[in-house]
């Protein structure tokens, strides 16, 4: 065997993973080659160093926090539903929302509709509150809402075509938007939940749509206790959230999620789901 062949097999030899005949041939080469013998000695030294790494001891806090989060998940899965007709969060009563959603969905040509659940999130953590403030402001003044977001989270303005250098993937908006939208800005944001790529788009009438691309699985933390339903949009299971007279929509694209803030209606959601996928 030559050095190149032996070096390819060196770790397997060192770890005792070679078949007997191969091991013997490697061993024979190492016995006559100072270079390969030296490299093997280096592996041995690394292994000795690794064996004296300190033994880390986990604290009891880890289980305590897991226990707490399991309790929170249990609350969300077994909601106490108490719609309060004086509470503006429930401005659409359940029966009315069913009728309204069914009508819209039918008109939009969506094939099926599921109702997931109304639930009161036990997890009103800081992020949910912060993002809730952003959402509330977005329906009033999207530009001010954007300033809130940029002030709250570390961010960097980027060209979406080169964002992959920072985040390892090309964001969906990099391939462009439908003709009626103009991309105004793209930021990479470090949010407590995840790293997001957030794009601000303007419609021809000057109104705003925000598009987030992120790998946060726990999308429910974004919207807190805002009313939500699940629906199929262009064969994608979407979480739809009521924001006053606008909609937020979130769906999974590959290993990530895309979230729209400020969609006008389900027709727009469908169009963008199809485009961004």
């Amino acid at each position: 065997m030559n050095c190149s062949e032996v070096q390819e097999l060196l770790s397997a030899y060192f770890d005792g993973e070679l078949a007997d005949d191969q091991r013997d041939r490697v061993s024979a080469h190492i016995g006559t080659c100072t270079k390969c013998a030296g490299e093997l000695a280096g592996f041995e030294k690394l292994s000795r160093m690794a064996s004296v790494l300190s033994e880390p001891v986990p604290t009891h806090q880890i289980w305590n926090q897991i226990n707490q989060k399991l309790d929170q998940q249990s609350i969300c899965e077994n909601p106490i539903i108490k719609p309060d007709h004086n509470d503006r969060r429930f401005s659409f009563s359940v029966p009315k929302l069913f009728v309204l959603a069914a009508t819209i969905l039918t008109a939009a040509g969506i094939s099926w509709f599921t109702y997931q659940s109304w639930f009161t999130h036990g997890n009103h953590d800081h992020f949910t509150a912060e993002f809730g403030h952003y959402l509330d402001e977005f329906v009033r003044d999207p530009d001010t809402a954007q300033q809130i977001l940029l002030a709250n989270y570390k961010n960097q303005l980027v060209d979406p075509n080169v964002a992959s250098e920072h985040i390892g993937y090309q964001p969906s908006v990099a391939k462009g938007l439908p003709a009626e939208y103009t991309l105004k800005s793209t930021h990479i944001m470090k949010m407590p939940c995840c790293i997001c790529v957030q794009s601000i788009c303007k419609r021809s009438d000057g109104s705003t749509l925000a598009i987030f691309e992120h790998d946060d699985e726990e999308i429910t933390e974004w919207f807190g206790d805002k009313p939500s339903i699940t629906a199929s949009c262009k064969n994608k299971q979407c979480c739809l959230v009521e924001l006053d007279k606008q909609i937020a929509a979130s769906w999974k694209r590959g290993s990530r999620h895309i979230t729209l803030i400020g969609a006008r209606d389900l027709e727009e959601v469908n169009k963008l789901v199809a485009w961004l996928n």
């Binding site: 770890d15 292994s47 004296v52 289980w63 926090q65 990479i188």
Partner: protein, 191 residues
């Protein structure tokens, strides 16, 4: 120089006590069963996380691993080895964490070789050098090195955990070891 013998893992879990009954009770979300499973496995997971994501984040990521485990326990197939499945969950969480953290580095200062003129250099233990060098290795290679050298997994087990062909484990370990040696040399380590 002879090769190392394959030995039993340095830190074997109490796998014998992770029986089907315990897993079934975990599937039913019985909290005491979940805690028992945690107690049996958390040391290995935490150790793996310390070596892959670092001491500062290890507790958080360990939490995430177990929350994922309890969420996905229905997906565990009883004919597989539980420990392997658990390590795969742990590695995936660790790699996901590292991808998020390492991409987000506005102050990505290049690591500079330590000067041998600095008096602190003389006091740095080899294990601290190794820990620093480990932090500089590409995450997937680091995971494979840790699974082999710290957890003592065989190549077949590593392949299963990492979801890679068994035949590639050796070449990846070659790369990990050589990369580590280079980082150690950059840090001024002399063998």
């Amino acid at each position: 120089m002879a090769s190392k013998n394959t030995t039993t893992p340095k830190y074997a879990s109490d796998a014998a006590e992770i029986d089907a009954g315990l897993l079934e009770r975990c599937r039913s979300k019985e909290r005491s069963a979940q805690q028992s499973l945690y107690e049996l496995c958390h040391r290995q997971v935490y150790r793996l996380m310390v070596r892959t994501v670092g001491l500062q984040d290890a507790a958080d990521v360990t939490q995430q691993v177990f929350l994922q485990l309890f969420r996905k326990i229905d997906q565990f197939e009883s004919h597989s080895k539980f420990e392997t499945w658990l390590y795969r969950l742990a590695i995936n969480e660790g790699l996901q964490h590292l991808r998020k953290e390492r991409r987000w580095d506005f102050q990505n200062l290049a690591h500079e070789p330590m000067s041998q003129d600095k008096p602190e250099f003389e006091r740095i233990e080899h294990k601290e050098l190794l820990e620093e060098a480990l932090s500089r290795v590409e995450p997937e290679l680091l995971s494979i090195f840790v699974l082999r050298e710290v957890q003592g997994l065989s190549y077949r087990e590593i392949a299963e955990v990492m979801n890679i062909p068994e035949g590639t484990v050796g070449s990846r370990l070659n790369r990990a070891r050589r990369e580590l040696q280079q980082h150690l040399a950059d840090l001024g380590w002399e063998p």
